[in-house]
Symmetry: C2
């Protein structure tokens, strides 16, 4: 009546449950004919092993946990989507959890997922290195994505934050811009710090001095960025171009531009976002390529699950400058 168990398969096939178990797990030293007979019984009964039972007595769930800031952030949504797709291919499923950018919750969620017996964890951490390191479990394979957070004993996949930012600002400089604004809460993550460094570097290359009035590092959300962007764009010596160090900063700038009816300010945003190509003008972005990041993270996780002692890797993927229009605007004539 209920789901068939390994005992039903054993009875049906005429072998012991252990042999059935061997067939399920593709263990060596089972005669080909035996395998076939057991397989036939499995097929006949539509048997599927119970993951919870498999997990008992050692073992892990065929499940991988994904912990991100927020699931409906387009960047993370894509990460989750790719990981889910990859996991499905190998018969695993995905537990999602979010931190809401709360350190206590980050900790709690990691513990919960680990307790669930997941085979591996993909985590986008944040916060102080010592806290993060303490929060990450040592008995479960973990891959850290997007933000390093000082973690050195786990595999990490991230992007070239500094280089990407440099690319962005160089791109603007090449169009003739000299007054280039920066928005991004550099104190929040090392990634944003790196992006600021990239900004500085590109300016230095061009012999442009950093103008503190064009650098805004206090805002974190789009709502917070908006008034700053508004102020920055409204001043007398407003920047002719802006580098938004995150999509949220970008949204703040776009809102400000809309409010001021200023579509002439060049803009490059670090991080692609949906329908960026349909904006007026279409937004030039530094694409962090979340799919590639997630793909790599999955590969690394699979590798570590298979070999927990493998060498710890810090993978840095290149970003991609996607020119769409907003980053190619020339400086206003009157500035």
């Amino acid at each position: 009546m209920s789901r068939p168990t390994i005992y039903d398969v054993a009875r049906e096939s005429g072998f012991s449950i252990k042999t059935v178990s061997r067939v399920i797990n593709e263990a060596p030293n089972v005669r080909k004919e035996t395998v076939d007979r057991v397989r036939a019984a499995i097929e006949l009964l539509q048997y599927h092993p119970d993951p919870a039972a498999q997990r008992l007595g050692g073992g892990k769930l065929p499940t991988i946990g994904v912990l991100v800031d927020s699931i409906d952030d387009p960047f993370f949504a894509q990460v989750v989507a790719v990981i889910e797709a990859r996991a499905m291919d190998v018969g695993m499923d995905v537990l999602v959890a979010s931190t809401g950018m709360d350190e206590t919750r980050l900790r709690m969620q990691i513990q919960r997922l680990a307790r669930r017996g997941v085979a591996g964890l993909v985590v986008a951490p944040f916060g102080e290195p010592e806290h993060v390191s303490a929060a990450l479990p040592d008995d479960v394979p973990v891959v850290v994505i997007d933000r390093r957070c000082g973690v050195t004993d786990k595999d990490v996949v991230r992007v070239t934050d500094e280089q990407g930012a440099t690319d962005a600002v160089r791109h603007l400089v090449a169009r003739g811009h000299r007054r280039i604004g920066f928005l991004g809460k550099t104190s929040a993550f090392n990634t944003l710090e790196d992006r600021y460094t990239g900004y500085e570097k590109a300016l230095a290359e061009a012999g442009i001095e950093v103008d503190a009035r064009l650098v805004e590092t206090r805002a974190w959300t789009a709502d917070e960025a908006y008034p700053y962007a508004l102020a920055m764009l409204a001043t007398a010596d407003a920047p002719t171009a802006v580098f938004a160090a995150s999509p949220m900063m970008g949204l703040g700038v776009l809102r400000a531009q809309q409010r001021l009816h200023r579509q002439d300010v060049a803009l490059v945003i670090f991080g692609d976002y949906p329908v960026a190509e349909l904006m007026t003008p279409p937004t030039t972005v530094i694409d962090q390529r979340p799919s590639a990041l997630a793909d790599t993270a999955f590969d690394l996780l699979a590798r570590r699950i298979q070999d927990p002692a493998a060498e710890v890797l810090d993978t840095v993927l290149p970003t991609l400058l996607v020119p769409r229009g907003s980053g190619e605007l020339a400086p206003r004539a009157d500035s």
Copy 2:
């Protein structure tokens, strides 16, 4: 060394594992003092029951499964996010899975989730009613979201598709539009069919006859919609307004508008999307309010988990017309 088990708590507290189990499950007939002593031991050892073991021998995992078309669709991403948040509040976690709009995969994923022993399932189905009904399990609580698909024996949460569409088209008619295009693959879902009905109804009210040249029901993705939208907007007697029956159709139209440099065509899209308010002009939408939908779905699921025999509910939530600009454009003077 390893995680403490119920035996450790039993030893520490001086009671049997069964009594500890009773305390964990808040069973009746346990002396208050005993409860306190056991709780203290649990606290001391930082004990947490193993969900996999709890699930064995009857029982369900403290987990709810969510199955949607695609996790990085903004609509579904928000649904997943809300459900994850609600689940976390009650100590459950969330398994995500996607169908990729493949019927076989829909079936497979449902079976996988059911086998995992989830306590409940939230599913956005599609396809023929008989297939969908066959695919949905009867031994696991299920809530169907967004699309009814002929399901009658499960709780359903959806929105007023027809009314929303009528609202949208009435809104356009009220601005003076008489030639109003429709895009949406009506054969795909009952929801799209309903939206078409709403379109027809609003036109009929206004005494406008449906012009077959303004109705495009073949496209499903944004890529497919684009050429149709292009064709529709480029003809001599092009519509002065368009009702896009889904966000994907909307993207197709927006691309066409961008391509043709036509920002004068009024547009209402069924379904909100990120940064719609930053478009030029900002896009007027019929908001399906995914958060409310997910909230309701969670409530219904909780209710059904608690009482599997509860009356089956078909909940229809209202949509919300959000005027932002594109839907308030007047007809072009020359049409």
